[in-house]
């Protein structure tokens, strides 16, 4: 074995099992003072490194680090939990809103259909409230439910059937435009009879024109 081969071995011969390699290394050390000196220094270094390792083997992180980490852990997981709850609450609210809107829509449609059906004799299961009109309305007669279906006035919201009244009025045809209806200009001055379905708030919701006065 030469010096280069010995240096490349990087052996720790103390307590090493006997092998051809270790025997050759020991032989070389006996014959080479330079390698022997280097080996001795290397062994001393190993011992000092081992001692340094042992001297610092009991060190530990200061307890404040654990406190900081646990605080961060708690904050993070509380935030995550609250975020989760907020997301679930948001979805529940959205679902409830959808159900409410759908319910209102269907109730509204049912109410409108019921009101229109009430005006038709075939569906006349109940009579709307009939009230007498005074002379200040120019001879307006309150109509009975006498047949034709009511049409919703543009922009009006159908109310509950128990809160509506059918009122028959005489008015110039042109006045129908105030209800959002299209009127033939040539007959705007004609006086016509109109049945109005009036809600509890006094606002007309639907109208019909008795056959003899149709546009």
């Amino acid at each position: 074995m030469n010096c280069e081969e010995f240096a490349n071995l990087d052996l720790n011969l103390e307590g090493a099992p006997e092998r051809p390699e270790t025997s050759a290394a020991r032989e070389h050390l006996r014959n080479c003072p330079a390698c022997a000196a280097l080996y001795e220094s290397s062994q001393r270094l190993r011992a000092e490194l081992r001692e340094l390792g042992m001297a610092t083997s009991e060190v530990s992180t200061p307890s404040r680090v654990e406190m900081r980490l646990r605080q961060e852990f708690r904050t993070r997981h509380t935030t995550a939990k609250n975020r989760g709850r907020a997301i679930v609450a948001g979805w529940l609210l959205a679902a409830a809103t959808i159900v409410l809107v759908a319910g209102s829509f269907f109730v509204g449609r049912h109410s409108k259909n019921a009101n229109v059906a009430k005006a038709h004799p075939a569906a006349n299961s109940g009579v709307t409230q009939i009230a007498a009109a005074g002379p200040e309305l120019g001879g307006t007669l309150v109509a009975e439910n006498d047949g034709d279906e009511f049409a919703l006035i543009p922009g009006a919201l159908p109310g509950l059937q128990d809160e509506t009244t059918v009122v028959r009025v005489q008015m110039q045809r042109g006045a129908l435009s105030a209800l959002g209806l299209t009127v033939n200009e040539e007959h705007a001055n004609d006086v016509v009879e109109v049945d109005l379905l009036v809600g509890a708030d006094g606002q007309p919701q639907a109208y019909r024109l008795p056959q003899q006065t149709a546009n």
Partner: protein, 200 residues
């Protein structure tokens, strides 16, 4: 690490990821000392080692899924994270390291708990130990980490290779080179006469 310990780490980590603070605390207490020692031996500063330990375990708090049990053990993962933090720390510091370790108040502090128990006649040994520590801290980082892991932490070449993410042969050659550099530095410091014969 025995298999049951490894499985225990994985169970604790899963519980910790679900918000179990006790599980996280157990994990921290199991691994903090070795990470602190590694960081301290690499940087020479207790304040830096403290910061690095905190950073490493913050990774577990904030990104527990970064650890993949299929790729290795939690201990090796934590060492890997610590190593990266250490390298970043060393990049920011000047090359030369003082002989003494200073704490965050700037006071010189010898990080050697055996000092308190060492009799007066071992002062020379303490001085030599400080020289060795300074010589280790003066090594280039790639050699220093090999020496710290293999000589001070007494890891095998295979364990060190996993942490350093390099082949075993690279660990051997870096360790060999690291020792040679240490010897040269210490010989310079001590001017020890070479002996003719080895003691076998």
């Amino acid at each position: 690490m025995p298999i049951e310990d490894q499985e225990r780490d994985e169970v604790l980590l899963k519980r910790s990821a679900k918000g179990d603070e006790d599980a996280f605390t157990q994990l921290y207490r199991r691994h903090q000392a070795q990470i602190y020692r590694f960081a301290l031996r690499m940087t020479g500063h207790t304040w830096a080692a403290e910061e690095i330990v905190q950073d490493v375990f913050m990774t577990l708090v904030r990104e527990p899924k970064k650890f993949d049990p299929g790729r290795g053990m939690l201990g090796a993962f934590l060492y890997g994270v610590a190593r990266k933090r250490v390298m970043k720390h060393l990049e920011r510091l000047p090359r030369e390291f003082p002989l003494e370790v200073r704490n965050e108040e700037g006071e010189a502090k010898v990080v050697d708990i055996a000092d308190q128990r060492t009799p007066a006649h071992l002062a020379e040994m303490r001085e030599r130990r400080e020289q060795v520590r300074s010589a280790v801290l003066a090594l280039p980082p790639e050699f220093r980490e090999t020496v710290v892991l293999c000589e001070l932490e007494e890891m095998s070449y295979e364990q060190a290779a996993k942490i350093l993410e390099c082949p075993v042969g690279t660990v051997r050659s870096r360790l060999h080179r690291g020792r040679a550099l240490l010897l040269a530095k210490l010989e310079m410091l001590r001017e020890v006469p070479k002996r003719a014969n080895a003691v076998l």
